[in-house]
Amino acid sequence: MKILVPVKRVLDYNVKARVKADGTGVDLANVKMSINPFDEIAVEEAVKLKEAGKATEIVVVSIGPAQAQDTIRAAMAMGADRGILVETTEAIDLGGIEPLHVAKILQKIIGEEAPNLVIMGKQSIDDDSNQTGQMLAALLGWPQATFASKVVLGDGSAEVTREIDGGLETLKVSLPAIITTDLRLNTPRYAALPNIMKAKSKPLANKKIEEFGIDTTPRLKIVSVAEPEKRKGGIKVETVDALVDKLKNEAKVI
């Protein structure tokens, strides 16, 4: 069983995004970038399946700038076997390469790699779209099990528990299939130093986005990017009585 895991390089989740002064996007110069947390969960799930003897090879793919190599190496340090970088100089958060482009590139890579399963993050925490997995499943004509909190692999199928609006739902999908991860699926491991060293010598193929022959003209135009409206500063109250009074007589919400 071969598993393919797409990973994206994004602004670290601990860093607060700053809007560029010219209103064209978010400033990504000299800030900490990391693997998208949901993708890290996807890598962890794949590695666990390999450790359990259910998978034989894990291939990670990243579409992004040359530095996305680091993202691939991070996944390899967790246990992925091999990487493919699809390099682009376009933005991958806003106004450049969009989820539909990514899905089309992944579709081509999947055509060559023929994995039995694709595990990917449910959303990337930069553009927060939550689209790519579902799009890829559609392009491939595969079933999708999104927002997964539990995956049980069977013979030629997977039983996946999903986090839905009202609780949990379990689906059985035939393989190959797309699974997208939610937060509760697992807790990603920290890569140990020897594994980080080992990851440096794992095979990583470099490709250019142009090689895929996909029209990457944006379908969405970013007109502007602005700071959200700031909430007016509030006050601290000393007692519960004061709080009740404010809520009743000032805010009038109770």
């Binding site: 978010v26 689209q131 579902q134 999708q144 609780g167 969405l220 007109v223 601290k236 519960v240």
Partner: protein
Amino acid sequence: MAILVLAEHDNKSLKSSTANTVTAAAKIGSDVHVLVAGKGCDEAAKAAAGLAGVTKVLQADDAAFEHGLAEHVTEALKSVAGNYSHILVPATGYGKNILPRLAALLDVQPISDVMAVENETTFKRPVYAGNAIATVQSLNSKHLLSIRTTGFAAAGAGGSAAVEKISASGSSINVTFVGQELSKSERPELAAAKVVISGGRGLGSGENFAMLEKLADKLGAAIGASRAAVDAGYVPNDYQVGQTGKVVAPQLYIAVGISGAIQHLAGMKDSKVIVAINKDPDAPIFGVADYGIVGDLFQIVPELTEKI
């Protein structure tokens, strides 16, 4: 051309998110149709027809649509997509699961989490956990949007649209529904409640959420939670408020034992009035709270419940 809204429902009743999405559609154009895809979904279809602003309801009734699986519902949408300039879904787990699948089949790049309509093709949406707001123009030939329910008031009653049955069938893709485990609650829907009380890691256990329940009983509130409280198993996953959970904007949001991480704020900072109860005076939640009270939640919450 008309605008199509995909209804979110459980065959018997509509989810409130459908009514918010209809309002967004009405801001784009005046001919708003609703597709109800389900099994034995007459009641849901009737409810959709009664929403103000809806001009027609399409009902696709087939066993394949019973559980709202994306592979199948996408087929129903695809069969009518040609008649519409815009297709809108609620930006809930349900809508987000389906819309991108349809979009790829139509070769459209959709726009997620629309919070405001500027004009027929230009929309505002939050990115980076709401730390930036992007104004985005769709250059697609058809526009596919998921709608943030908090950005649009729910459409009221008073509609009397005709219900037209359409024949649509599911996909041949091999996916089967195994089961569901829904959280039971007599409380209002989290995303639509006027008052929300959320608990965080500070609650310390699932049992301690009973304390919030008492306060919620008095206020007719829904209960939410931070990711940390869900991860720790205090409450089910569908309680999570935030960037990657539910987005709420009630009249009153009370955050109890929640620090106020960016990802949590993304889901609640558009609430009208925010109250924070936290023992750490420097907790970031106080930065967005209208009223903060520093202290031990185990004392403050019971006292508040008594005095409110």
